[in-house]
Amino acid sequence: MQMEKGKISLYQFKVLVVLFSLGSSILIVPSALASVSRQDGWISSLFGVACGLLLVWLYASLAQRFPDKTLIEFSILILGKGLGHVVAFLYFSFFLLIASLVLCTIGDFISSMTLPETPIEAIHIVFMLIIVMGIKLGLEVVGRASEIFIPWVLVMLGFMLVAVLPLIDMSRTAPFLENSIRQIAGGSITILGIPYLELVIFLMILPAVSNRSKATKGFLNAALFSGLILTAITLLCILVLGHDFTARHSFPSYTLAKQIHIGDFFQRVEIVMAVIWFVTIFFKLMISFYAAILGFGQLFRLKSHRSLVTPFAMIVFVISLLVFPNVIYFKDFSAHTWPPFASTFGLLLPVLLAVVAAIRKL
């Protein structure tokens, strides 16, 4: 059963992986890393990226066994009808939850940093409308849109990274490796939770990639690239703001952009930088929402998933308003609850699937 007829190129796939990995983690990860392993947060990040690449390798090798099937389809195939459907349904709910969490993150960011008096519902609705439009246009259009946006994101990011260089204070990373290995490894759990464990979502997209033979390498490269960007941003947050500021601020990378001050005329550009967040989070939301809908359609063997888009958009909208009562809860959730929860879907189940598939010689 082939519900999605659109194809995306390998390059578009890589771009989507990068945008997905940066979306929302760019806002959350630096502060979570710095709060656990303090000035060594960037080492935690590197450590996390290394482990994350192992996860990506696991996903890619799982996908290689079933090149034309999505995660939902092959889990039913591997585990049989009963258990397979349960796992598939769990995955669908996981994707839907990610979509809601991402929507909540962007709403929270906009309402606490720029539009405090605008009802958060208004922001969520506007954002969701574009997502609905994008999904209705199909994966091909989303892929092409990502190709248009990636240069902007990279140029702006590069600009931000260069513009804060004069503000660096090298002594802020000292003492180097003061924290124990346990602390550093513990710190890397956040970056594993967001985004690496979530990358399992791309098992829904991979069948649509036209050049499958190189997809594994592309997946790994894209995951590495975005991991390095996240590490660079964390390092700069620590070098410029200090680990304490980074940990205490809700959105340290935004605070970092606030520091940009070149001459007396180039300043107060942080909202331009926020465009990076908007774009990356838009694509993250798009992909997770798309995966949820596609998964639901395949689970219940629907002929088309288009009719699901609007009702599910409403559901995501409602969940996004309910998931986090406040920012403190959100910080605590993404640091302590999310990584173990996500590892059920990002580590436990994929390993189970791989093992069973190997035993059953599928």
Partner: protein
């Protein structure tokens, strides 16, 4: 027809795009340029300097009636945020604080502790961390914000540029923003400092429009060294000379005059134009030690020496004398901070960075036991390059006449 409908709908959508939900037009806002915080009893007094747009926009000068700024003060509730909103009681518009340039803290509040007042400033989304924080010396923040300045229409503008210019060209004061301040407050091995500002002259006359109409204003705002804080409480003042030592140790020296006595008598001033410092902390036998190495390049700016400066040996002597002079005043400043038991120069941080494990053992007693008897080696290395447009001074020759 269909195209027409589409076009109309598009243009109607444009109308929706022009404004955001909670927009505030300029005419609904009072733009604050400086805030002042004092404390009387357990209540804050907030002073706000509000820019009067009708005066600063007229190029040809003002009509002599309107004031460029209005400073309001409100004795208010227990928190600053409430106080800032309460300003609307007496001002016509909501105060917009994103563009404040200066935050002045009154001496009384500073002596009591500044930390509680700072939370709001770092929390409020519209607030940026790039304004300077200064402490009022022997007066209140309210009084400081009332003084009108002759050279700049907006007094906070004056304070802002004056602080930048003074740190750069004189070195007797230093710029501290909210970020630096909180950083020092939190670090166990450093205590914050804030630039001190004093009113010279008659405070009451300074608040009158006529203050700007006099050749010598009745009241002037003058930067004078630093306030030394023990955690968040003001304990003492550093002189401008001690502040120069602070700037040397923090690597903030840009172009600073240093006066010294010449090897053979008389006085000279050199201008440091490039300076770097290396600081090292260590722990030997459980006792912390620190060393400071300062390397600077200077020009002769003013030579009133008895002996001529015409040969290489004399130049060497001069360099040595300059180095000794700088070492001496840096040592004196460190000594003073040790007596105050406030680690204004951040020696504790330095030791923490190089010996994190041993630091943990001494950090609790750092300020009470270890810091006051910390041994600091100060070595300065001064290279005098240019002598300006003349080499030797004409003064010795004049005496021979």
């Amino acid at each position: 027809m269909r195209h027409l409908v589409k076009l109309t709908v598009t243009f109607m959508a444009l109308l929706l795009l022009t404004g955001c939900w909670s927009r505030k037009e300029l005419n609904e806002l009072s733009i604050a340029s400086a805030l002042g915080i004092d404390k009387h009893g357990d209540k804050y007094t907030l002073s706000v300097q509000i820019v009067n747009p009708s005066v600063i926009t007229t190029v040809t000068g003002n009509n002599g009636i309107a004031l460029p700024v209005v400073t309001r003060d409100i004795t208010s509730t227990e928190t600053l945020f409430a106080a800032l909103r309460e300003v609307t009681r007496i001002a016509s518009r909501k105060v917009y604080a994103s563009h404040i340039q200066m935050l002045v803290i009154g001496e009384e509040l500073a002596r009591e502790g500044i930390a509680p007042a700072l939370d709001f400033l770092s929390r409020d989304h519209a607030m940026r961390t790039d304004f300077f924080i200064i402490v009022a010396k022997q007066t209140t923040a309210e009084n400081i914000l009332k003084i009108l300045t002759p050279l700049d229409n907006i007094p906070s503008d004056h304070l802002h540029s004056s602080l930048i210019a003074a740190e750069k060209n004189w070195g007797g004061t230093t710029q501290i923003n909210l970020h630096d301040l909180i950083y020092d407050l939190l670090s166990p091995g450093a205590d914050p400092v804030l630039a001190a500002l004093r009113i010279k002259g008659d405070t009451r006359a300074g608040a009158l429009k006529s203050n700007t109409a006099r050749i010598t204003p009745a009241a002037l705002l003058s930067y004078e060294g630093l306030g030394a804080f023990d955690n968040d409480r003001l304990v003492s003042w550093y002189t401008p000379q001690e502040t120069k030592a602070y700037n040397f140790l923090k690597g903030k020296i840009k172009s600073v005059p240093v006066s010294m006595s010449c090897p053979g008598g008389g006085k000279a001033t050199i201008e440091i134009f490039r300076s770097g410092r290396k600081m090292k902390g260590s722990i030997v036998d459980g006792q912390p030690q620190a060393s400071v190495h300062i390397k600077a390049e200077a020009n002769v700016a003013d030579l009133e020496c008895e002996r001529p400066l015409s040969n290489l040996a004399a130049m060497k002597d001069m360099e040595q004398a300059a180095a000794q002079n700088i070492e001496a005043f840096i040592k004196a400043a460190i000594h003073k901070s040790q007596q105050l038991k406030t680690d204004s120069f951040g020696f504790g941080d330095m030791i923490y960075r190089s010996r994190p494990k041993q630091w943990k053992k001494i950090s609790k007693e750092w300020k009470s036991v270890y810091f006051p008897k910390l041994k600091v080696d100060v070595v300065a290395n001064i290279k005098i390059g240019g002598t300006g447009s003349v080499t030797d001074s004409f003064l010795p020759k004049m005496k021979e006449k």
